[in-house]
């Protein structure tokens, strides 16, 4: 990364100014960037808004998809922009499980235990082909993998790809955010 020269700082200026104006997202909900935002709603809605903007994922990866998950968390894609970059080392502190990679049969009970250790409300994201239905490892009489994360935990969001790019994971997390805001939850 080079130094920020004068030309760059000029280019950044409109962006800074724009943040003061109301931003409306495609779903129609007002963003928290709106300074004049007033919410008159039930307490649940307020709590859901807080949950949606601070999704804390559990730190664990299962296979190659985890590389893309790490890339999404690192500076270039920066999951912190969406409040979802605080990967927790303990299941007790996490509220979203990103299943990133192939689930072997030997690993399945461990994942289930981690899921049971997470306090509700909690959500699960199935990232990549393996966690959707077994992906490239699915064939008749295979003995090594679990064909789909939804055989172990209830999955909220499926992200296709092998592996999905970090943008796809971010899109999935934004989708999950909408789901949380709407108050839809399998595991209260």
């Amino acid at each position: 990364m080079g130094k920020v020269d004068k030309k760059d700082s000029k280019r950044l200026l409109p962006l800074v100014n724009r943040s003061a104006t109301p931003v409306v997202d495609p779903a129609g909900a007002e963003s928290i960037a709106d300074p004049a935002m007033v919410r008159l709603a039930m307490l649940d809605d307020l709590l859901n808004m807080g949950r949606a903007n601070s999704l804390w994922p559990l730190t664990f990866g299962l296979a190659c998809c985890a590389m893309e998950m790490m890339a999404a968390g690192a500076s270039k894609y920066d999951l912190d922009r969406f409040g979802a970059g605080v990967f927790r080392p303990s299941a007790r502190q996490a509220d979203v499980m990103i299943l990133a990679g192939t689930i072997s049969r030997k690993m399945a009970p461990v994942i289930r235990q981690l899921w049971d250790q997470m306090p509700g409300p909690k959500w699960a994201i199935a990232m990549g082909g393996c966690t959707i239905d077994g992906g490239p490892f699915k064939y008749p009489n295979q003995y090594a993998i679990v064909e789909g994360a939804d055989k172990i935990v209830p999955v909220d969001i499926y992200i296709p790809g092998c592996p999905p790019r970090p943008e796809a994971l971010i899109a999935g997390i934004l989708q999950l955010k909408e789901k949380v805001k709407a108050g839809r939850n399998f595991n209260p």
Binding site: R105, K106, P140, N141, Q142, Y143, A144
Partner: protein, 158 residues
């Protein structure tokens, strides 16, 4: 290979042949019987060789044997020896047994567990002969040739 090693090996092996290292990656191949496998291992280890690898071949259909393949190597001057040990038994054989080498070479412990895991060869007196890579409750041996075969399957389009 030193002369003392060659003469001791000749006592315990039924056949030995020199191999082309550039083509095969091994210097010599020996065949031994089950009762002499520990003596062969001890001979190599006493000469300063290391226990490098153990794997298995399922030859039950063609030759009615399960073949253990031990590899020994010298670290100071690369000298790799392959030892074939056949366990008799056809497709209908229930068990395959071999003596454990883990008492001589600690590295054999997990290698033997893996062979047990994948081929179902039981090693007598092994300290902990349990599933290594597969789940503890698995009741199959996936690298046996008859595992998972689909009888009326068609080949993929070429």
């Amino acid at each position: 290979m030193s002369e003392s090693l060659a003469s001791t090996l000749a006592e315990y092996t039924t056949a030995s042949e020199q191999m082309d290292y550039a083509k095969t990656g091994i210097h010599a191949r020996h065949t031994a019987t089950l009762e002499h496998v520990l003596s062969v291992g001890k001979t190599f280890l006493d000469e300063g060789y290391i226990f490098e690898m153990l794997t298995c071949q399922d030859l039950r259909e063609k030759e009615e044997v399960m073949r253990l393949c031990y590899t020994f190597n010298a670290l100071d001057s690369v000298d790799r020896h392959l030892v074939h040990v056949d366990i008799a038994g056809g497709l209908d054989a229930e068990t395959f047994e071999a003596p454990t080498m883990s008492k001589l070479a600690g590295g054999a412990n997990w290698q033997e567990r893996e062979v047990f895991d994948m081929y179902g060869v039981t090693f007598t007196d092994h300290p902990e002969l349990e599933r290594l890579l597969l789940p503890e409750d698995a009741d199959f041996f996936p690298l046996r040739k008859d595992f998972g075969r689909i009888e009326d399957a068609e080949d993929a389009d070429e």
